[in-house]
Symmetry: C2
Subunit: 494 residues, 2 copies
């Protein structure tokens, strides 16, 4: 089996561009076939959103970002690909012949997946010479952030294809869900569609506006759906007596004449106009780009919130980061230049870091300095295996100086000077800079002790790690010693 490096993407709309961004940010090269003369610009915009989101989502070391190239023929994208993902319009008459063309030129071991949200894989694979390599991999928008991908095979799909597709999706940070039975709409879209039909009726009957319906979701059941589905939520509502009790209590409401779901609302011009007007009112002056960024920021913050609980989408992010750390540990760190401090962290002030005064909260400064310490540790060769063996540097002392304020969204970076080291100690001086003018916003002098956490005692660092730290200390000795190093806190009159 060849390593998957180049992803052939058929179709460069919102979904195809989202795949391109996810592929590139996980170190793959994307070749997109799209005939739209504006395709490069549109894909570039999605990639910009995705880079921004990843910079906020994780400080794990991203692999080298891959390239994205737009081509004009299905054959060109398919012939060079190690994995093909089709995201063409939702129409069998479009998809079937183009998938067949891709099948003709792709290497025999290459999987061809379709992003279809509702068409049956058995039909989509019907024009292929090698239908066993075809599978549905249905993602959600934005593809570069949403973890779910529904994997569903057709009659002729091989088990190996499903397994390999799921492994690939996991490797690019997704949560594959195997849809075992072929069914129109798979699972998630059927559930979304049910809710959507009911919502359309509520608008049709003037019960509620689009904004009110959205509020009923996002201040209510939607909050729980972000980490627990309907069944687990209802199980908890049933209390100690469990699911049978819940079903006995609430099952009968199924018979109530609550819903008009038995009919489908007629999407005539009047209803359409009402929905469009209400949606315009809800969005107010926010552009789609602004709404996209709000959506991405909220998603990223929710992933981070759930990561602490190792639950749902947080568990997906956590295992993605573990892969990144492992990969980074296996690759050589770039060597430092003499006479220059390390610069391993470049980011922006996240909206979630900002306090009620609009300033970055003081604990977030230390978080960024902590990220710089982690990056320094990786730089000197401390990898996942080293940490798993219980070895690490622990912070014993920190001295922070605040010099200037910084506001939301401001690009910032950290420089790190190794002030000294012995077998067990490492002495660092981090400076946080505003990238725009390189001014120093804050500094942190830190002393670390190397420990064997399993034995609960200090111990010497591994010789190769120690050698790299001492090499850095030697190189950095040429730099001026920071004025704030060795400072003590005192009232001016002491």
């Amino acid at each position: 089996m060849t390593t998957i490096k180049t992803i052939g993407l058929l179709g460069g709309g919102v979904i195809g561009a989202g795949w391109a961004a996810r592929a590139a940010l996980t170190g793959h090269d994307a070749v997109i076939c799209d005939l739209d003369p504006e395709a490069e610009r549109k894909v570039g915009e999605v990639m910009a959103n995705a880079r921004r989101a990843y910079a906020r989502m994780t400080l794990a070391p991203l692999t080298d970002i891959g390239t994205i190239r737009v081509v004009r023929s299905i054959e060109e994208a398919a012939a060079c690909a190690d994995f093909i993902q089709e995201s063409l319009p939702e129409n069998e008459e479009v998809k079937i012949p183009l998938l067949a063309r891709a099948d003709k030129v792709a290497r025999p071991d290459v999987i061809i997946a379709s992003s279809t949200s509702g068409l049956l894989p058995s039909r989509l694979q019907s024009g292929m010479v090698r239908p066993e390599r075809f599978v549905v991999g249905h993602p959600f928008n934005p593809v570069y952030l949403m973890p779910l991908v529904e994997v569903c095979g057709g009659d002729k799909t091989s088990d190996a294809t499903k397994q390999r597709a799921m492994e690939f999706y996991r490797a690019i940070g997704m949560h594959p869900l195997h849809v075992r039975k072929e069914i129109d709409g798979f699972i998630a879209d059927r559930l979304m569609e049910a809710l959507w039909r009911e919502a359309l009726w509520l608008i049709h009957d003037d019960v509620a506006t689009a904004a009110e319906i959205d509020d009923a979701v996002r201040f209510g059941p939607g909050l729980r759906w972000a980490f627990m589905g309907t069944f687990l939520v209802y199980r908890i509502a049933g209390g100690e007596p469990g699911m049978r009790h819940f079903m006995a209590q609430f099952g009968p409401t199924l018979k109530w004449p609550w819903t008009k779901l038995m009919e489908v609302p007629d999407l005539d011009e009047e209803l359409l106009e009402k929905i469009v007007a209400q949606s315009d009112a809800q969005a107010g002056t926010a552009s789609i780009r602004e709404l996209e960024r709000k959506r991405d920021d909220c998603l990223v913050s929710i992933f981070q919130a759930l990561r602490g609980h190792d639950f749902g989408a947080g568990a997906t992010l956590k295992s993605f980061e573990e892969r990144l750390f492992k990969f980074a540990g296996a690759t050589a760190a770039p060597s430092a230049k003499p006479g220059e401090p390390l610069c391993l962290i470049r980011t922006r002030v996240d909206p979630a870091w900002v306090d009620y005064n609009g300033h970055m909260a003081e604990s977030r400064y230390l978080q960024v300095f902590g990220d710089a310490t982690d990056a320094t540790m990786r730089h000197v060769g401390i990898d996942a295996a080293y940490l798993q063996a219980g070895m690490s540097y622990y912070t014993v002392e920190t001295h922070i100086m605040h010099r200037r304020e910084v506001h939301e969204g401001e690009p910032i970076h950290v420089t790190t000077q190794v002030l000294g080291a012995d077998d067990k100690r490492m002495h660092l001086f981090h400076s946080l800079h505003k990238t725009a003018d390189d001014s120093v916003l804050a500094s942190a002098e830190q002393m670390f002790l190397h420990v064997n956490a399993k034995e609960g005692r200090a111990c010497a660092a591994r010789p190769d790690v120690l050698a790299r730290i001492k090499e850095l200390a030697g190189l950095h000795a040429a730099l001026p010693r920071p004025e704030a190093a060795g400072r003590r806190i005192a009232m001016p009159n002491r």
Copy 2:
């Protein structure tokens, strides 16, 4: 209009107990009528969950926690109440006569609200002498955390009742949604019910298990529903051409034969057994209590994540905290005892604070010390008005010592010693203790400068604030000076 202080709760099940916990944690006294001899224990368990969740959710100063008392008659609960909330079984024949009895004894200016998730207010108010004071206020489980409350009046409900009920719900940290048209199931439950029916069909037809359906929600659309509803999500999916384009593209799928929603699955013993078995398998060995805590922890983390973006449920939490700060600013701080440091922060190590090694991340130490600084500022009289005028203490320098590790869930507290102060400077020494044995885990010596942020310069603190700080410094001068105060970082050989 009397201030609302005592909440009369009719029914002490999961919903009634949730109201009691929310009421008590927002400074109200709850009087619950429930005939279950175990009611006190059950309400106490919900209250324990709620206290735990609030301790993690906010470091805003909670008002004094109210009392919860269980009584055995509707009249006793209704007669002493300033606001009545009914959460009896979902059955008109139970609710209508009991609401009428409450109406007879309640003071005329008292609102009577029902937690019903689906019954019509016009029918529920039909037995009342004063139906104009009746309104539906439909909450979601857990009531002490979920922001949404659907407010719906019947034919005879007055506008004043709806407005006052919404104001009260806002004051206790909720997001009231006015349901303008009386309809079975209101808005949110109709949407949930639509999704639930579709989910039951998926199980019935062996397309997916309960756990798979839940995963399809929580790794997919559920993540977006936590902060944006269906309409805004679809608007974004439509891209720049907007909602009309989206509807044109996806509207036709409404006609597809995707769904069996037109029928209602027969909830026979076989389907019931299948759902119960799948739900048991999904929950594994986790008890309902464990699942409740997981749910609450995830909700709290999501609220905090969204608070940073001032969006959705995060905006609700933010405005609730602003009320708390305002209220705390208006009340006098307790005076310190001589010879004792301040102890204003008691909390636990939140799961989200813990890093990949199972230890509290270093930036979280500074976050807790920052909370202790905020509490100290409130203690000396700095309130919301003071901060809004642009006056505050800014951290200029921090020296942290790490002494012992601390693990997830461990109760911790911070003591604070005022080491010195002049007109513009405040010098504090915080110690973080493990509450179990009072051992010191870490310390932070900090120097603050009093600033006028609007003018961008240092300035003297307000005389009354300064007087309180100097009073504390005088009292604390009797304490031993911390060994770590004034320490500088250095390698041992320097």
